[in-house]
Structure formats: C-alpha cells, structure tokens
Assembly symmetry: C2
C-alpha cells in the first residue's frame, strides 16, 4: 500500500500536497503573491515542527512568529483575539499569508483568525498531528470553542493549500497517534469496508503514509459532494454526537487528564455502533468486530451514570442538532451509513451504559 | 423625486425592500423556514424601533430579544461574545434567524455574530438609521472593532433580505441624520453628479424616502460590480482613509463627545477633495463647491497638528492599505473618481491643515 503514488488531492478549490510537500510550500511562497508572512504555532509545534519547516521558508519569506499555548483548552476566543492583536501589531495587511503549523487546534483557530482578519486574509495549513492530517486538513471548517461548546463559533473558509509531511508524525506522542487513528477508522466504517479491513491488519501504532493518504482521499470525496454540510457530509459525524459531548465534558472536568478528540470519538463510535445495532440494522457480529478493534486500541474511560444528564445537555447544544432533537449518523453495516437518525435521551443514555459494560 | 416608484432592489443574492417593507418581513417570517427567531437591538432601537416592528412579528414568531448598549464604543468582541453566549443559552440552532434592528453598529456586529455562530446562521437587517439604510444595508460587510481599529475583524456575508422603513428616521436625532447624509453626498460625488446637484437643493435635515432610495441604488450598483472589493468598489472609500482615522482617534480621545461616522467622513471628504485638487485634476471651483456644502452642514472639529502622527499611524493600520503605503480614492471631478492613489504622509498632513484653515 505504501507504494501507491500519492498524487496531489484536489479539494474545494485548493491542492493538498503529499509528495515533497514542503518543497511545494517553498515554491508557493516564492511565487511572490504575499507581502508578509506569519507562522502560527503552539509551544509544541514551535519546538518540534518549526525546525523541520524553517529550511523551506526561503530568504524571501521573512516571517513573524505567533505562538499560543498548546491544547484544546486554549482554542478560545481569548487566544484568537491574541492572534488578531498580533496581526494588527505586526501590521499585517490584506496581502499577508498565515501559515498554520500545528494540529487541529492551530489549523482551526488559525483558519478562523485568518478568515475574519480584515474580512479574510489567505492562509495555508501544515498539519502536524495525525488527526489534523486526516481530518482537519480538508473540509474548510474553522472554529473556536466558547463556554465549552466545541467549534460553536467559526467559518467555512478554504485554505490556499495544504502541505502534508509524514515526518512531523515522528515526534508525535502515541496518544496523539491514537487520536487521529479514530478518524481513520471512522472513514473505513462509514464508507469503505476495504479500507477498514486493511486498517485492522496494519500496525496502527505507526500508520503509514499510504494509509494517511487514503483517509484524506475518503474524507475529501465526501466533502466535495457536500461542501456546506447540508446532507451526505453528515456521515462524517459518526461517533461525534456522543463523542463531542464526552470530549467537552472531559475538558471541563478532567483537567490536564482530559480525553483527546480521538479518544472521545472512539467512545462515541462504540456508543453509536450500539445504536446502529439497535436502530439501524447493524449486525451483532459487526458490532462486536468494531467494539473489539476499538476497545483493543483505546483504554477505558469512566463515564458515571450521574453525568448522563450533563452529557445529554451538551449534545443538545451541539451545533449538529436542530431544535431540541438529537441526531446521530448510524451504520447499517461496516462501510455504509445513513444520516439524521433522531435518538431519544433514553437510547443515548443506554448506549453510554453499554459502553460502561464493555471493559 | 418622491413620486418615483421604489422597486425592490436586488443586491448580491438578496432583496432590499422599500415599499411596505415590514409587511414583507412578516411574510418572510411566515414562510416558516426558521425554528427560532432572535431580535438584536441596542437600548435606543429597543425603545424607539422595536414598538414599530413588533406588530409585524406575527404569532408564529416567538422571538428572544438580545440587547446591547448603544454606540460605536460597544461594537467590540466583548459584546459579540455576549451575543454568541446568549444564542448558546437560548439554544439557537442552525435554523435560527437573527433580525438586526438598529443602526450600523447593530447590523455590522449582528451580521458578524450570525455569520460565525455555528459557522453561519441566517440574518436579516432592519436598518433604523439613515447611515445604516444608505450604506450598511448593502454590501455584505460585517465587522467589529479591535484596539480602536475599525472593522478589523469581520466577514463578507450577505443577509437573507433587508427591510427599509422610512418611519424609523422620525425618532432619529439630527446629528444621526447628518451622519448618514455624508454617505449620500459621497455617493453623488464619486459617481453621480446629477444626484449631487439634487441633494444640494434639497432639505437635507429631512432627506426624503426617494433620496434614500437613490443612494441605496447607487451603492448597490457599485457593490454588484465588485462584491469582494478588489477594484472599483474602493470608490466607496472616498473620504474614508482620513475619515476612519479621525473617527478612531475621536472615539479614543473625545469620550462621550466623539464624532459620528458621518461627521468624520465629512472631514475626510474635505481633506481628500483637497488631495483630489492637488493630485488628481479636481478643479478649484468644484473643490470650493464641495467644501461649501460640507462646511455648511457640518460644524468644525478641532484637529491639532500634534495629533497628525497618531492619525497617520491609524491610517497605516487601516485595512484598506497594503504594506505601509496609504491609499486614497480621489475625485477627478464631481461625479467621477479613481482609486488607489498613494498619498505621502506630508500630503495627508497638509490636507488636515487645509481642513483646519477652513472655518
Ligand atoms: N476543522 C476540522 O475539520 C476538524 C476536524 C477534526 C478535528 N478538528 C479539531 O482539531 C482539534 C484536535 O486536533 P489535534 O488533536 O491535532 O489537536 P492539537 O492541535 O491540540 O494537537 C495535539 C497535541 O499535539 C501537539 N503536537 C502537534 N503536532 C506535534 C508534533 N508533530 N510533534 C509533537 N507534538 C505535536 C500539540 O502541541 C498538542 O499538544 C480539535 O479542536 C478539533 O475540534 C477540526
Ligand atoms: N457594513 C457596512 O457596509 C457599513 C457601512 C457604513 C457604516 N458601517 C458601520 O456603521 C456604524 C455606524 O452606523 P450608525 O451611525 O447607524 O451607528 P449606530 O448603530 O451606533 O446608530 C447611531 C445611534 O442612533 C441610535 N438609533 C438607531 N436607530 C435609531 C432610531 N430609529 N431612532 C433613534 N435612535 C436610533 C443608536 O442607538 C445609536 O445611538 C459604524 O460602526 C460603521 O463602521 C458599516
Ligand atoms: Zn472528529
Ligand atoms: Zn462610511
């Protein structure tokens, strides 16, 4: 699989580079369209990723660095204001380029800051986590969290280009690999049984560049069919109705020991697979297969019954839902799903109990 | 002129209603596209305009009210966060409609909040000041101020519709009428000499509905030609390079006695007309005509030489400028202009001295 040619992927009006991508970035910069360059990092990507990127930022690209502290808890309007403020102070004009070097927090927040600064300056992503490579890199969603509601404020805005480099993953902690892996498994589950089967037999502690490429290709195909998330794109929400609530709750209550996005989504996928089994014809055998893969990869996380009410409220506030109904994307079999299944509070709570019973 | 039929104006994909517009709003609401309604006002429009609007918000539109304090000094990210927060707390979903009832502060900030809440919910404008009717109502610019840099954060986002009602202007203080008038005069100066001549002989303390309509039609035509402000739309910036700086400075230093937008733009138009005379072939006779009309309408505002450095810095930070050059739109004659004239600090400072010498 690693021998497959990783051609540039065309997303919504912009290219996603895989081969020699940082050389492509250097070329992009040399084209001379921009007067000013800004690199956005967090403390981790400043340390581990900027040294990799630096040699490609040629002499023409004198850049200013904007650094924010790492972590989802900092994907806030306050740090976004900090970014806008630094752009103002550095005198960023409309012909400036913001280079987002980091994981999904940096690409989401940087994308939002750029798409609203002076009503929109250009930006590119250099995603450095597995999660941001396979998920945040295509789709054009930007966002920040407010009052622990994830991505409640944001825009649809496309980067000018995305530059993927597998080298960044070498410094990534194992938990962060697992976090991105959840989305890759999701891509298989919702629309590509063959890819799922391939993942099952791979060494998932070090997903190959080829597997990453396939995952981006799957997500991109779905996004292209439905750029504004009016229909089929909701397939990508599999595991996320419950997962997002679990993630938000953990962020608020577990302090530094909070779940990663992918860990929360893995929980959400288990719960929503169970709902798929109960409500959407997923076979018990496939449910068990999915659960075996996920529980094998992801350690258990305790979710007390006493938190269910709070979790349900978070699901209701989630932007995926209209009015007070809670919607899920459910599988009908591995590799196929359908969207907009209304789930009752009881069903959702039962699925959380199912999760708790597994380990 | 008042007898001219005020047909609905088609802007960038949305209608601007003039005749029986609040009845049109009632119809729009009855169409049943939305699950939830929110009305954004400031304390003034809550008092004077909401009672006018209320009878048209039929029984189907149970709405929640969001009120912010009035004034440009509140067009900030802090109040925008307050709006997002209330939308969260009220449980606004993606099928919600935000009705912006107010002047340009409300339509700009409400438009920004709506266009970024859950990555964009629908909004409509009911502009209640002359300025917001003739200027902020078309063009799709939303924005808030940061560190006294005006509209530095915002989006391009179109409302679903705009509803104009001349009745709102009856409660508007005379200074606010003058504020909107500056933009109407600008519309004549930059591209319609006939309209300018008509304005000159009208009672400008109470601009007629027909004059308002013509002004919107002129702005809309320019906007349609250049929705993203890449070229010709910059014509609308006449008076604004200097005007915006004067306005920002006044907001920061003059406390409650700060200039209105239009008062600042009137100063900017005088200065930039002088620059037009010096650099762009505007005749001395036309310069004097413009200055006579403007100084007759607008009281003098003191701008000390010692503030010039600060003003120039504000101009440099202005989002209209690329790099460190300061650009102006200049007239070549009344009714015609050209864009992108680079002005030196000395020229800009001289134009401010010219203004100071006039009264
Ligand atoms: N826009 C989208 O479509 C989309 C899709 C999925 C997720 N997201 C968002 O992405 C975020 C999660 O992404 P994430 O997991 O990448 O978060 P992240 O950006 O917080 O990265 C995780 C951690 O890894 C560190 N890190 C990043 N790159 C590294 C590297 N190469 N070596 C060592 N450490 C590195 C970071 O500093 C951080 O501490 C969430 O906010 C989520 O909402 C967005
Ligand atoms: N988006 C655009 O294209 C655009 C164009 C021009 C101006 N603007 C923005 O608009 C703002 C200025 O607009 P504005 O002058 O309407 O400001 P505003 O909204 O502050 O209104 C001025 C004052 O009039 C009050 N008011 C409003 N309607 C009233 C009524 N019917 N009766 C009595 N009082 C009323 C308001 O409460 C306020 O105190 C600026 O922030 C400017 O940047 C935007
Ligand atoms: Zn996800
Ligand atoms: Zn203006």
């Amino acid at each position: 699989m690693d021998t497959l040619a990783m051609d540039t992927i065309e997303s919504i009006g912009y290219p996603v580079f895989f081969e020699d991508s940082l050389t492509e970035l250097a070329r992009f910069i040399e084209r001379g369209k921009y007067t000013r360059f800004f690199v956005l990092t967090d403390d981790q990507t400043g340390e581990y990723c900027l040294p990799v990127l630096q040699p490609y930022l040629g002499e023409n690209a004198q850049y200013d660095l904007i650094e924010v502290p790492s972590g989802e808890q900092n994907k806030t309007i306050d740090f976004c204001i900090g970014i806008w403020q630094m752009l103002i102070d550095f005198g960023a004009d409309r012909n400036s380029l913001l280079i987002n070097l980091g994981g999904g927090v940096i690409t989401d927040m940087g994308g939002f800051a750029a798409s609203t600064y002076k009503r929109g300056i250009d930006f590119v992503h250099v995603p450095t986590t597995l999660l941001s490579q396979v998920d945040a890199s295509v789709g054009g969603k930007t966002g920040i969290d407010l009052s622990s509601v994830k991505n409640i404020v944001g825009t649809f805005a496309q980067p000018q280009a995305v530059f993927m480099d597998h080298r960044f993953l070498t410094s990534l902690p194992p938990r962060q690999i697992l976090s991105g892996l959840a989305e890759m498994l999701k891509h298989g589950l919702i629309c590509d049984a063959e890819y799922w089967n391939e993942l099952k037999i791979s060494d998932l502690t070090k997903p190959s560049a080829g597997l990453v490429y396939q995952s981006v290709a799957i997500k991109n195909q779905i996004v292209l069919e439905d750029p504004k998330e009016k229909g089929i794109r909701k397939a990508l929400n599999f595991g996320h109705t419950i997962g997002h609530a679990v993630e938000a709750y953990s962020l608020e209550h577990d302090g530094a020991k909070h779940l990663t996005h992918g860990e929360a989504i893995a929980i959400g996928m288990i719960c929503e697979s169970w709902l798929s089994f109960k409500k959407n014809g997923l076979s018990e055998q496939e449910l068990n297969e999915i659960v075996a893969v996920l529980t094998n990869l992801y350690p258990q996380h305790e979710i007390k019954s006493s938190c269910h009410a709070d979790l349900l409220q978070l699901m209701q506030k989630d932007k995926k839902n209209n009015g007070t109904q809670i919607n899920c994307t459910l599988l009908n079999k591995i590799g196929e799903c359908s969207i907009d299944h209304i789930c009752t509070e009881e069903e959702l709570s039962d699925s959380l109990h199912y999760y708790a019973s597994l380990y």
